[in-house]
Every structure is written in structure tokens, then in C-alpha cells.
């Protein structure tokens, strides 16, 4: 049994040393857990300018504060390191059961430093921690590796890299068991560079709860809140696929490397009805009451026998829209990504980029070895395996679209990324909203997953002329129930004109999601709509015994966000890095195009809301002082 707070386990693969230390209560008060710990620790541990694939980089896994409790959706662990894809703060979040085991073994975070000379894996069983030889696993795909390690280490949850991580593909993922993963920012390449094949963790001790009755009450309330969300039933049934048809209608899907906006048979390919056709059972992460995962099985045809837990919007958009594949090929693509360990979003982006280069004549059959076209699954998978193995042109594409584009003449326009990271699914030309701005302001580069309006509304997409507002469909009771300080609420939401102020809402949304990523709960819409800082604070107090208010939580989350911004600035983030790909400003889809100047104005307003310099986006000294970060200003 362990009290709260737990320990930080530190393993140095260069020296083989293993040590653990108690988490200082002040670290929890200031940074909570999860991404907060990662930000603080990596800011202090990674030297400026460190090679992301070198010995100096540090990889950290931190389970959120509430992970290891029955609080609904408390399953999530944040993995972070300096990203080999973006050169900035790399970070990714995953659920399933890894975090629960880490937490019950007594650890709030696992810190991995140095580089092993030979392949190794780490086994954690409560206090017993070992670094073992992994020569027999090196080169093996992920599912086979999990099978072997589950046999050897009964009951353990496994985080691991596949061949892509071993081969330092810059968008390699760390897989979390067979079907989940820390996908974004290339953390798999960091783990591969450390010659670390896997981490197997099993915990039996658990955590002493400060006030069991109060925690149980918070769990009950949390469950009721999520169940009362307007999107709850739709999400338990269809998961994230609810969004795919609305985005198709808005001409906002990433079709054919962001050239088409939609596809004629999009509904059949990627609509939520594919759950009815291919899905069978629902699958949940630890303590989740949504179970958005769908077990998919292909029964006949050339992909007969493929089974994944992944009828989800990310593969549907990445492979169905960006690469133009059909539903069964999308499911097959998910399987390849999970078994070989690559991020689905970047993979789709890189494949779409390569296919467009081919169609434009920038690369040829001679370069590739075969023909490429949107919708050609066999060619796409052949190319993907070349990337995973870094063979031929695959060696260039394994560097990600930004670096690969530098290797070909006039290829830059077709590399769809922000700050080096391929962007997913939603084309902001077709749908401008809080999360569109969030792609620009995201501290990890191009995606929407760190900034979503807590009450998303897929029905509206008509942007105001200045891009400042998002039309909403807000009802008064919904407004009243939103757990947000009243002064902020009235600034961010105008009930009369039924609009949301995108700059104001973005800061709140980012801080709220960052809070979720600190305490380890999920950003699915039914949670975001209902689970605000008040109930999270109640659960945190009951579990840890620390006196933490809702306002403390939001301030802590803001502190983490600012510290990561400082990390990125220290690593040389440029003033004009927060831009969409040129294509979005210069090529229209059915008249939809982005206005660069107007977006710049929204961005500058967002900077001001954050207390950052309106022009440069650098945090003001006052802001850092307020957040106790003034010592971190280099």
C-alpha cells in the first residue's frame, strides 16, 4: 500500500541505475500530475538544444492524479520527451490500463534517461524493477511482442515500440498494449533511440485513499454528470465517428491530402454506420463509462480475419479521407500502424503527401518502385512498409512531411503540417471554430486535441467575417450548467447573438484539456461538456487529501501550458511558426479559403487573453510572475 503522493521512478539506461524518490507535495500542488509533472521535469532535465534522438533526451510517463481510482475515465497517462518530429515539446496521451498498473505499483511517474548500448526492456513489479535484455524481442512487431511479454510477466501492462520506433521513424508511436498508443510527436523514435523495446508494469499495492466516502460520492456525481451530457448516448453507441458525416457535409475533411473537402461516397466509407456494419462489441478503458472503442472484425475479402479495436475517427480520416482508402482498407491500415508502431495521423499525412507528389510528377515510379494513387490500398501499404523499414524512398518519408519536402523540388506546398507535425482530419477552410485556432496554438504542433470547445456543436460552421466568433446553438440551461467562472463565461459566450468568442474560449478550452491531461481523464465530448474543475477538485481532494480548489486546478493547468510554451521558445520556436500550411491560404475548396491577416488578428487576441505579448506570443513577465514561473524565464 502506498500513500499519496507516490514516487517518481528514475531509470538511467546509460548507467543501468534505478532509483525512486517521493513526489514533493509542492510538485502536486503546482503541477498536479500527468502532463504537469512532465512539463516541470522535462523543462529541468533536458538541456537546451539536446538531440531528440540522443542520450540527453528524457522520456517520461506520468499517470494523471486520479488514475488508479474509479473516477469515470480516469485511465490516462501522458508520455513526453523532446520531439524528434517537431524539435519541441513532444507529448501524447493514452488510456487503457497502463496508468492504473503504474499507479498501483506506487509510481506517479516513470522517468527514463540515457541510452542503452544493446536492446533492453524494463520490468516493474511493485518495488522490484529490472532492466532486462531484449535482444530476443528486437525487430518483432508489437502484437507478437505483447503476446511474449504477457506470458513472461503475468498480469503486466505493456508499453512498447515496434519496428518503426526501432528504425527511428520520426513519427513512430509508443504502443499501449495491442490497440492503444501514445501516437503523436514521434515518441516511439525516442524510445527506439534509447534501445528500449518495452516497459512491462504490474502493480498490486494500490493507493491509500484519503477519504473513501467522499471519493465514492465524487465518482457517483461524475458518472451522473457524464451520463447527463447531451452527447452521451451517441458516444456510447458510435464513439468519435459521430463527427465524420457532419465534417464531410461542411467540406472539412482531409480528402486526398486536403484537396477535395469531401468525397462522393464519404457516408459509406467513413460514416458512423460502419460501426453497424463492422463493429461488434464496445471496449472501455479503465473506469470509463462511455466505452467509445469498437471492436471491428473483417469477415471476408482480402482482409478477412483482421481484428482491431479501432472503428474511430482518426483512422477513418487519416486513411479514408487523406489517402482515399475504403473502409476495409482503413481497418487494415489501423492494424499495420498498431503492429509496426506508427502514429496514424502522421502516417496518413505522409502517405497523402507522397501520393500527391507522385501525381504532380515530383516523384516518379522510378523513385517509388511502383505506381501510387489515392485509393490504392496495396500501393499505400507497400509504401508504408518501406517507411517503417526506412527502405529506398521510405527512408526520406520516415523523416515526416516537413523534412521530406526539403528533399524534393517544389514539394513544400504539399506537406500539410504545423510546426513539423502532420495535421489531422478537419480542414479549417471548411469549418472554422475554437479547435481550428487550437491547431495553431497547440503546444505540441498541428492538431486540435489540446483545444476543443467544451460544448462542441457540429451543426454550425458559418464563420463570422473576422474569424473571431463561432456560432453555437447555445441554450440558456446549457450555459447555466457549464462549470466555468461566471466572469469568464460572460466574456467567452454571448447568449444573445448565440456566439462563442474563439480567443477567449480557446484559453479556457486549452487549460481545461490540459487539466484533464494532468489528472488523467478523457477528453471525449460527454466528459468535456459536464466534468469541470469543480467536480475534479472534489475528487482530487478526496483521493489525495490535499486542499485543492477548482481555481487552483485551473491555475496549475495554465502554469503547465505556459511552462511548455517556455520550453518551446527556449528550443527556438519562431514568431511566425503558428501558421497553417500555405495551401489553406492560397487554394480554395468550393470558395472556402483562409484569410491569413484575419487569422493573425484572432491569434494576437488569443495571445493577449493568455497574458502573452500580442505580437511575439511570448509570455509576459507579469503572467510568469503570477504563475510562479518567473525563475524559468531564460
Amino acid at each position: 500500500m502506498n500513500d499519496y503522493p507516490g514516487k517518481i521512478l528514475e531509470i538511467n539506461l546509460s548507467t543501468g541505475s534505478i532509483s525512486s524518490r517521493a513526489v514533493e507535495p509542492d510538485l502536486i500542488k503546482q503541477y498536479l500530475g500527468g502532463i504537469g509533472f512532465n512539463a516541470r521535469i522535462l523543462y529541468d532535465e533536458i538541456p537546451v538544444g539536446a538531440d531528440p534522438l540522443g542520450e540527453e533526451n528524457v522520456l517520461i510517463f506520468a499517470a494523471g492524479t486520479l488514475v488508479g481510482t474509479p473516477f469515470p475515465t480516469a485511465s490516462r497517462t501522458e508520455a513526453s520527451a523532446k520531439s524528434p518530429l517537431t524539435g519541441q515539446f513532444g507529448t501524447s496521451n493514452s488510456g487503457a490500463f497502463f496508468g492504473t498498473q503504474l499507479k498501483t505499483a506506487g509510481y506517479d511517474a516513470l522517468l527514463i534517461k540515457g541510452t542503452s548500448q544493446t536492446p533492453v526492456y524494463i520490468v516493474i513489479s511493485d518495488e522490484e524493477v529490472q532492466i532486462l535484455d531484449a535482444a530476443f524481442l528486437w525487430g518483432k512487431e508489437c502484437w507478437e511482442t505483447v503476446d511474449i511479454l504477457e506470458q513472461k510477466h503475468y498480469g503486466a501492462e505493456i508499453a512498447l515500440v515496434g519496428p518503426a520506433g526501432e528504425n527511428l521513424v520520426r513519427f513512430a508511436s509508443i504502443e499501449n498494449g495491442r490497440y492503444d498508443g501514445w501516437g503523436r510527436t514521434g515518441l516511439g523514435a525516442v524510445m527506439g533511440s534509447k534501445k528500449l523495446k518495452a516497459i512491462a508494469v504490474k502493480g498490486t499495492r494500490g493507493r491509500k485513499v484519503h477519504n473513501s466516502a467522499a471519493l465514492l460520492e465524487a465518482v457517483r456525481k461524475g458518472q451522473q454528470l457524464i451520463k447527463s451530457a447531451s452527447s452521451y448516448m451517441a458516444f456510447t453507441e458510435y464513439g468519435t465517428l459521430n463527427a465524420s458525416i457532419p465534417y464531410g457535409k461542411n467540406k472539412a475533411i482531409s480528402a486526398h491530402n486536403f484537396t477535395l473537402g469531401t468525397l462522393p461516397d464519404w457516408k459509406e466509407i467513413g460514416g458512423r454506420q460502419i460501426v453497424d456494419k463492422y463493429g461488434s462489441r464496445h471496449v472501455a478503458c479503465q473506469s470509463c463509462i462511455i466505452a467509445c472503442g469498437h471492436w471491428a472484425e473483417i469477415k471476408e475479402g482480402k482482409y478477412a480475419g483482421v481484428k482491431v479495436k479501432d472503428l474511430e475517427i482518426t483512422p477513418v480520416m487519416s486513411f479514408g479521407a487523406t489517402v482515399g482508402l475504403n473502409t476495409e482498407a482503413i481497418i487494415k491500415a489501423s492494424e499495420i500502424c498498431q503492429r509496426y508502431g506508427v502514429d496514424m495521423v502522421s502516417t496518413g499525412g505522409v502517405l497523402g503527401f507522397a501520393i500527391e507528389l507522385y501525381k504532380k510528377g515530383i516523384i516518379t515510379t522510378e523513385d517509388v518502385g511502383f505506381e501510387l494513387d489515392f485509393g490504392d490500398d496495396e500501393a499505400a501499404f507497400k509504401l508504408l512498409h518501406k517507411i517503417i523499414d526506412r527502405e529506398g524512398i521510405g527512408d526520406i518519408l520516415a523523416e515526416g512531411t516537413k523534412r521530406a519536402a526539403e528533399q524534393f523540388a517544389n514539394a513544400d506546398r504539399y506537406a500539410i503540417h504545423i510546426k513539423g507535425m502532420e495535421i489531422p482530419m478537419i480542414d479549417p477552410r471548411g469549418r472554422w471554430s475554437t479547435w481550428s485556432l487550437g491547431m495553431l496554438t497547440n503546444i505540441r504542433g498541428g492538431d486540435h486535441l489540446r483545444c476543443r470547445n467544451p460544448v462542441e456543436n457540429l451543426r454550425y460552421n458559418d464563420k463570422d467575417e473576422e474569424y473571431m466568433k463561432e456560432r453555437f446553438g447555445f441554450k440558456k440551461p446549457m450555459y447555466d450548467r457549464l462549470d466555468m467562472p461566471e466572469d469568464l463565461k460572460s466574456k467567452a459566450i454571448d447568449l444573445e447573438s448565440d456566439t462563442v468568442d474563439i480567443a477567449e474560449m480557446s484559453k479556457w478550452a486549452e487549460d481545461l484539456i490540459n487539466l484533464y491531461n494532468s489528472v488523467g481523464i478523457c477528453i471525449r465530448p460527454p466528459v468535456m461538456e459536464k466534468v469541470g474543475p469543480t467536480i475534479i477538485a472534489e475528487a482530487c481532494r478526496a483521493f489525495t487529501g490535499l486542499e485543492i480548489s477548482a481555481a487552483d486546478l485551473m491555475e496549475s493547468s495554465e502554469r503547465t501550458w505556459n511552462l511548455i510554451k517556455l520550453f518551446n521558445l527556449r528550443e527556438g520556436e519562431e514568431v511566425d511558426a503558428s501558421k497553417f500550411p500555405r495551401r489553406f491560404y492560397e487554394e480554395d475548396i468550393d470558395g472556402n479559403i483562409l484569410d491569413e491577416e484575419k487569422i493573425q488578428a484572432v491569434l494576437e487576441k488569443y495571445y493577449q487573453v493568455r497574458g502573452w505579448n500580442g505580437r511575439t506570443g511570448k509570455p509576459d513577465a507579469n503572467t510568469l510572475d503570477r504563475l510562479n514561473l518567473v525563475d524559468d524565464l531564460g
Binding site: G203, L216, I289
Partner: protein, 155 residues
């Protein structure tokens, strides 16, 4: 005892909220390893099977217990372990045909489901209704009704 924890294996999604709640309620600790109810996950087929006490009519755990620590109440049907009498021999753990009876190494005593004194919290917090604490006749009746509906629809 006419009520039992009735498990609908088709409904369980494997969230294991029941395990966390059970150990929280009984031990003030969150740890699946200390939960009475355990969810067996078969991830490569997306199947989940919660295992709890069967409250056998002839409980092997009771007959094997050398210290009389485990008793079956003839009226309520409950099978309970008295931790004061438990000598920590783990015979019940070995005898249980379901792998339900378990051992707490920190305390040195065996543990098993006690139905939370009549209001099982695993059931209370099971949002899928995979777990129900109902009279046998009702559980079976509902099952028969569902089967009947299928027969009607397909005939």
C-alpha cells in the same frame, strides 16, 4: 438466499470500475488486486468476464477451512470470512473453483465477496448493467424474455 449477483457477459465492456469501487469500499485503497470481484479481460476478442463469488450451496471454501473462519449462514445464504479466526493458510484460495477467494498478503488473511452487507457496490456502480443484484427468478425471467423476443422476431 434468493438474490444473487447476476452477470450478463455480453454487456461487460471491461472498464473494471467494479474492481476499483470494491477495493475502495472494503480497504480504503484503490487496487484491482484487492478487489473481491475481478474482471478477466480477453483483449484479442474484446470479451470480458467478471468473476465473483458464486455463494455455493456446498462451499468448498467452508469445508476446507481448518479454523472455522468461513461460514455459510443458513438463512441468508451469505458465505463470510471472519478475519479474526482466519489463520492465513490459503486453503480456501486453493479450493475455490472460480478463483474468487483471494489472499491479502499485507494483512495475512483471506478475503472474499461479502455482498457489502446486502448492497453490493460493484453492482451499484456498474453503468452497463452487466452486473445486477436481483432475485434469481427475475434474472432468469428477464433472460427468458429476451430469448423469447428473439424467437418471435426470427419465426
Amino acid at each position: 438466499m434468493d438474490k444473487l449477483i447476476f452477470v450478463d457477459y455480453q454487456k461487460c465492456v471491461g472498464c473494471a470500475t467494479c474492481e476499483m469501487v470494491c477495493s475502495l469500499v472494503h480497504e480504503d485503497i484503490c487496487s484491482p488486486a484487492l478487489s473481491r470481484i475481478r474482471v478477466v479481460r480477453y483483449p484479442t476478442e474484446a470479451s470480458n468476464v467478471p468473476i465473483t463469488c458464486a455463494f455455493c450451496e456446498s462451499p468448498p471454501c467452508v469445508s476446507v477451512c481448518p479454523s472455522g473462519a468461513i461460514t455459510k449462514n443458513a438463512d441468508s445464504g451469505d458465505v463470510l470470512i471472519n478475519p479474526v479466526l482466519c489463520i492465513g493458510c490459503r486453503q480456501c484460495v486453493q479450493a475455490c473453483p472460480f478463483g474468487h477467494a483471494n489472499f491479502n498478503f499485507a494483512r495475512g488473511t483471506a478475503f472474499k465477496c461479502d455482498l457489502c452487507g446486502g448492497s453490493p457496490q460493484c453492482v451499484e456502480f456498474c453503468w452497463t448493467e452487466a452486473l445486477q443484484y436481483v432475485p434469481l427468478e427475475r434474472a432468469l425471467g428477464e433472460k427468458r424474455e429476451a430469448v423469447g423476443r428473439n424467437i418471435l422476431q426470427s419465426s
